[in-house]
Symmetry: C2
């Protein structure tokens, strides 16, 4: 049994100011000290993979809200870590809009970066193969928005259909037609459930109806990127 | 860096006599000697995960045709292997109908089992957590048939639309309406491509048109289980 190290890395996405953002931490140790990277670390000897992902997220970023968590993919290129063979099980997590994370006295610096600013003049290039992991995580989220009620995991309850639409618009980088979007969302029973209240009035129109997440697991009809 | 062992396990699916089948091997060594299990084994020190999956499949079953190969999920429950901590990266592979695999003099016995016979009076219960891995692999395939041209990976080229329909029928356990199925398949350009020939005449009707796999990566409209 050749021994390798197994780690988890978490792509935690949220929506901030209408932009899709990923949580990154500034590495306090080598390798890549001072660089930005995904939160994560080595799996404990008796620790399940999912448990490890939740623990590391809490320890490194203070984020403990459950939200949505799923395995993304496992990355095992022999050269991906200068310390030796490290196979990383990557997770995708989604949470409603959160403030900038608090950082403990000795903890690493953590912050949200807009996904579109990474690897550009406006943002850092992440360490290791984390740029690819972010690309894969964002594509998984974009794709699952088509067929599942995942978008609601980005919304703090109760939310309006406009809040939900802004998730799609931010993730896909498109503008959606509000009446058409409303009709499609409401045609899947249990995608969202009306809570029987309306939002506080804003502007001149009628206050928007409020919803919470429903029990549906698939959208029918799907909301396909190519048809919006 | 706590050391663990990393293995790959492969859920290789095909269609045989109209039934969805998975390739299993009879274990030649401990643990679970003599039990049936998925093909797989430990990842080499300098071996990429995908490479390892292809190598182990070839070594244990003689299957070298590329076909479709994708990562399924990584299984890391601390108690999943009696030898110690083994994290397994599972793969899903699909191939057109193949004969029973040949087995080398010292190789393990390999054979196809209908997925529906596993864990029943007609078939074995697989070793380790492989029953769960098969369930997850089959569900991944069933689900991807809805949105992707994956069904064509089960068909030897050239194939008829009836061959393709039988993939859906076997995987989903349903009977599909041929004209309806044909209309939906042909409405995604590049799902299948007509090769300009017809199959040898069988029975009284007009010989069926022959197709090969196309370049499409997504089905539009999708072929949804709940609407068939």
């Amino acid at each position: 049994m050749p021994a390798v190290a197994v780690s988890v890395d978490i792509v935690l996405l949220t929506l901030r100011a209408g932009r899709l953002c990923v949580l990154v931490i500034q590495r306090a140790g080598e390798p890549f000290r001072g660089s930005w990277a995904l939160p994560g670390g080595f799996v404990g000897p008796d620790e399940d993979l999912d448990t490890s992902a939740l623990r590391q997220l809490a320890e490194e970023t203070g984020v403990t809200t459950a939200g949505h968590l799923e395995q993304l993919r496992t990355y095992g290129c022999p050269q991906r870590d200068p310390r030796g063979r490290v196979v990383s099980v990557a997770y995708l997590a989604l949470l409603p809009n959160l403030p900038q994370p608090t950082t403990g006295r000795d903890g690493p610096r953590a912050r949200w970066w807009p996904v579109g600013d990474l690897d550009s003049a406006d943002g850092p290039t992440l360490a290791f193969d984390h740029p690819q992991i972010v690309v894969d995580g964002v594509e998984r989220a974009r794709s699952k928005l088509e067929y599942t009620p995942l978008a609601a995991a980005f919304c703090e309850e109760p939310f309006t259909l406009a809040d939900l639409r802004r998730v799609y618009e931010a993730a896909w980088g498109v503008a959606l037609d509000p009446p058409n979007f409303r009709r499609k969302v409401l045609s899947t029973p249990g995608f969202v459930v009306a809570v029987g209240q309306r939002a506080s009035p804003r502007g001149g129109g009628r206050p928007a109806e409020l919803y919470r997440r429903g029990a549906a697991t698939a959208l029918y009809p799907p909301l396909l990127r190519r048809t919006v």
